[in-house]
């Protein structure tokens, strides 16, 4: 087109001479022909990433997504979304130690999101007996799970979703492992554990309590009857103190005390109870003893800073008037006739050089002996595997089961690569969520074996961030909440969040009974969030790395190159005809949901 033709076409300003100039110089036609996109050498793409919370959850729980569903009021959908990666929100919502919250990116702004309380809200909202929707039919393969603790439960759940016929063998007459006989009822009521098993049963999982493998049924028979075995017996033995006077009726292990209470026995402890140890078992035992009416003191050989117990538990124990005596350890227990304890002789300790755990080794102080009055001594200085039934297997590997990259127990002579293991018997951290994560991994490992592919390779693909959590949804090809491409490896930390776009808001507080009321019984003392509180807390979620359609990119793009998708579809699309790759959208996205890639990148 020549100039005159262009003028005709433009129409707006048709002037023959400068006397007809418009007051302001405006281009005659529009500038759409100027495809400024050709200037680009990097371009933005919408890419959902992994928030810090999901990365730090050992199970890779897709927390951000179900928080979004809570905000939309879609509680049931949110509940089933939790269960994509973590099968027991009513349980973890009560007992998890919240590794997610420790890394929550909201922390640097004001306070981390109460993720556990939100998960509990969902777990309590939907009846646990609701049948699993659209369950796959059986794939013809079967497996048995040894141990009905959280690792076994989780493995059974994910294996059933994958189509396996699952049987769980449990040595005790009650199901749940540590969930049922370890964690006290005031943290996790018995009824919830029972309801979860009812849910597993309704999925077609076979439950066999009172059945000890290698006593009631041999491992060989299991290998004949089932295609795969998953060993998750947990660690239910307690380390001995190794001091004189230990083997008397008024000295018991913390695990033993907790199990007896859990199985309904009316336990009578003395007035003055000393609990030896600094882990969560010691705290659980101490707080249970308080509820049985005793005066309780925890004796720990190092200081509070070195205690392995979770700080939340330590704080609540203090509130319930549990006493703490640090830098002291039992020397010997002086026993009267008929087993009553006369005196607990202790020794003061000092902290010396660090040991293998990196903590400073406690060393006896010269002349540091002193007497402590006690009626009952409870030992909680560490767990180890019980050897009686699985002795043959465990003796070979020194009390733990080593697994290889495919999560198989390599040390067995029998098994032919069909025996897998997970949970406390394999890993060091003794928390429920680690066990649940181990069960999920094992289910995928077994499925990989069935398909003839290497789990170690699949693990790298479905690993969330740097692991160890995996995305079961990615393994199954399930679509995420946002219909946006997702990068499983890219983790969003506080350095990626633009905090200027968020207003401070206080964390919603839990409600519940004061310490004085709690001690009276073993009832749950904290309330589940109401829907109002849940929504208020969910609204504080930053949604790190996930688009929330906040419109920031659309408003700030200087080239008007962020377009809303047609027909109410989610999200935006870049107009690459004009996008100059300036990166303003990327820099100003409050939650790092945009990625800048090389212009040559085919994304």
């Amino acid at each position: 087109m020549n100039r005159d033709e262009r003028r005709e076409k433009a129409g707006l300003y048709n002037f023959k001479t400068w006397h007809d100039f418009p007051p302001m110089n405006v281009s005659m036609g529009n500038m759409l022909h100027n495809r400024t996109g050709s200037w680009r050498f990097i371009k933005p793409v919408y890419e959902d990433k992994i928030p810090a919370c999901q990365q730090s959850c050992p199970a890779g729980n897709d927390i951000e997504a179900w928080i979004k569903l809570i905000q939309k009021g879609e509680y049931e959908k949110a509940y089933w979304y939790v269960k994509r990666e973590e099968p027991f929100p009513a349980i973890l919502g009560r007992v998890c130690f919240r590794f997610c919250e420790e890394k929550c990116n909201r922390g640097p702004l004001d306070e981390e999101i109460s993720i556990r309380e939100l998960e509990r809200f969902l777990g309590d909202r939907v009846p646990l007996s609701t049948p699993y929707p659209d369950l796959t039919s059986f794939n013809g393969k079967s497996l048995c799970v040894v141990g009905s603790g959280p690792a076994g439960m989780s493995m059974a759940y994910f294996a059933r979703i994958l189509g396996y016929q699952v049987t769980i063998f449990e040595a005790l007459p009650v199901l749940g492992g540590m969930l049922r006989v370890g964690i006290p009822a005031y943290r996790l009521p018995r009824s919830i554990v029972e309801q979860e098993f009812a849910g597993l049963r309704s999925m077609g999982i076979d439950l066999k309590p009172d059945t000890t493998v290698e006593k009631d049924i041999s491992l060989e028979e299991c290998l004949q009857r089932f295609d795969y075995i998953f060993l998750a017996p947990g660690v239910h033995g307690s380390k001995k103190l190794g001091v004189p006077g230990e083997d008397t009726p008024n000295v018991m292990s913390g695990l033993d005390l907790l199990k007896r209470i859990a199985l309904g026995e009316k336990v009578h402890l003395g007035k003055r109870v000393i609990v030896v140890g600094g882990g969560n078992t010691a705290i659980d035992a101490a707080r249970s003893a308080v509820r049985l009416g005793s005066d309780v003191t925890i004796l720990y050989r190092r200081t509070e800073a070195e205690m392995p117990a979770h700080p939340e538990e330590i704080a609540e124990a203090r509130e319930e008037k549990v006493g703490f005596r640090f830098l002291a350890a039992p020397e010997r227990i002086e026993v009267k006739e008929r087993g009553a304890i006369a005196n607990l002789v202790c020794c003061e300790m000092e902290l010396g050089k660090p040991d293998e755990s990196g903590r400073r080794r406690p060393v006896k102080k010269e002349g540091g002996l002193f007497d402590l009055k006690a009626d009952t001594v409870i030992t909680a200085i560490g767990e180890n595997a019980v050897f009686d039934s699985m002795a043959k297997i465990l003796e070979k590997s020194g009390g733990v089961l080593d697994v290889d990259e495919e999560l198989q127990v390599g040390s067995l002579e029998t098994g032919e690569g069909r025996v897998f293991a997970g949970g406390d018997i394999v890993d060091a951290p003794h928390t429920v969520v680690h066990a649940v994560a181990a069960g999920k991994r094992a289910a995928v490992a077994i499925d990989c074996h069935r398909k003839g592919i290497a789990f170690s390779e699949v693990f790298q693909e479905i690993m969330v961030g740097a692991g160890p959590g995996i995305s079961f949804s990615a393994y199954m090809g399930w679509k995420p909440v946002n219909p946006v491409r997702r990068n499983l490896k890219s983790v969003v930390g506080p350095e990626h969040i633009v905090y200027d776009y968020f207003e401070k808001a206080p964390r919603v507080q839990k409600t519940g009974l004061p310490a004085s009321e709690r001690k009276k019984n073993f009832d749950v003392y904290e309330d589940t969030f109401s829907a109002e509180r849940a929504l208020e807390e969910a609204d504080r979620c930053i949604h790190c790395g996930r688009c929330t359609e906040c419109d920031n990119c659309l408003i700030l793009c200087p080239d008007v190159s962020v377009l809303v998708k047609d027909r109410g579809e989610f999200g935006y699309v870049f107009d690459y005809n004009y996008c100059k790759g300036c990166g303003i959208c990327f820099t100003e996205c409050p939650r790092h949901a945009i990625t800048m890639v090389d212009e040559e990148n085919p994304i």
Binding site: W18, P23, M24, N25, M31, V560
Partner: protein
């Protein structure tokens, strides 16, 4: 309805009644309360406008250039250092032919730091292409904002309404604040001649080479000179609706005057008293109130001043190396006359120093009796 309000509040009312849609301003003494009142009006919903917070006057002006280009009636206000900070954007606004109204509270320019009445700030911007109006009373300020939009939108040039710091901005006077219905009948909604449309994107203010830049600039001057016809008509229409009369300038007792003072701003009120005093003693003194400064009403000034033998311009401003700025322009307007009056330049009231009727009387007497060369500025009230 008549209210007793400060000059700054008169501006806020003017802006509200003009149904401005976008305001962006940065606080500076003594303009701050304009913006505070406007933001309160926005908060209560009295004024349905978007308030864009910015970190400087340069950004404030740029923000309203943006909003006005998008086709929305916009407003800003500033003073002194803030006006100077906007300087580059002032040029742009006028060249881009955007009908923005800016109220500038006339305040001295530092250093030394001085917040009081002085017109050096706005006169130093006289070459930017903006229409400039100097007000004498709070009523005039309110009225000039409304008239400002009507004028600006008709000729597509920005309007700067100025008034003295503290003497008007922070002093209460009786002001008749009109109702929306009256103003709506006078000032129609803004209909932009061109506007930024993301669906039909144009290039605004792009490159023009030596072949046509001159002609484009000439168009700006030509349209500015048209204001000399448009503005009186706008004022007549205002009179019809509101019953108050304004014009490019006001001639007070000038018909038979031998000596005519020329003043702008609140010195005018004071000078009226001095003129009346002088008349009582038989001196034939008159006064021209300078309202419209840009475009320069050359012919009208010649009409009002041409027959006097002496003219004395009182400048509450100073251009170092020149003297009073109004005086300089009055001289150039009178120059073509075959018999031009002798023009004296008096400078008074810089930095907020009070100019009393006594001072103006003193200037009158001085001019009537002095032997000093005419082009030596009279620095009235300079300390010994």
């Amino acid at each position: 309805m008549k209210q007793v309000i400060k000059g700054n509040f008169a501006v806020s009312h003017g802006v509200r009644l003009s149904r401005v849609k976008v305001i962006s301003a940065y606080p500076i003494t003594p303009q701050t309360t304009i913006v505070e009142q406007l933001s309160e009006m926005c908060a209560t919903g009295e004024l349905e406008a978007r308030f864009i917070k910015v970190e400087s006057e340069h950004s404030a002006m740029a923000a309203v250039v943006g909003s006005e280009t998008a086709g929305v009636r916009s407003f800003t206000a500033t003073s002194s250092q803030g006006l100077l900070l906007m300087h580059e954007v002032l040029h742009w606004t006028a060249g881009a032919r955007l009908p923005i109204v800016l109220t500038n509270v006339n305040r001295a320019v530092g250093p030394g730091w001085n917040i009081w009445a002085d017109q050096s700030d706005s006169v130093s911007q006289r070459d930017t292409g903006w229409i400039q109006i100097y007000c004498e009373s709070n009523q005039e300020v309110l009225d000039s904002v409304i008239m400002g939009y009507k004028l600006a939108e008709e000729v597509s040039l920005p309007v700067m309404v100025t008034y003295d710091a503290f003497f008007l901005s922070h002093t209460s006077e009786v002001v008749d604040v009109p109702e929306f219905e009256e103003v709506d009948g006078y000032l129609p909604p803004f209909e932009p001649k061109f506007r930024l449309d993301v669906n039909d994107p144009r290039m605004f203010g792009g490159m023009i080479g030596p072949d046509y830049f001159y002609e484009e600039r000439y168009v700006m001057h030509r349209d500015s000179m048209e204001v000399l016809d448009v503005y009186p008509r706008i004022c007549r229409e205002f009179d019809q609706v509101f019953g108050r009369q304004y014009d490019v300038c006001e001639a007070y007792r000038t018909d038979d005057a031998d000596l005519i003072l020329v003043t702008a701003g609140t010195i005018t009120s004071v000078s009226r008293i001095a003129v009346d005093e002088a008349r009582k003693t038989g001196k034939k003194v008159g006064l021209m109130k300078l309202r419209l400064f840009r475009p320069v009403p050359f012919e009208r000034w010649r009409e009002v001043l041409g027959d006097a033998s002496r003219v004395t311009v009182i400048d509450r401003n100073m251009s170092a190396g020149l003297g009073g700025v109004f005086a300089s322009e009055v001289k150039s307007a009178l120059f073509p006359l075959e018999k031009s009056p002798v023009v004296y330049s008096a400078i008074a009231g810089l930095g907020g120093r009070d100019v009393t009727p006594g001072d103006v009387s003193g200037i009158i007497d001085h001019v009537l009796t002095t032997d000093d060369p005419v082009d030596k500025p009279i620095f009235w009230g300079l300390k010994e």
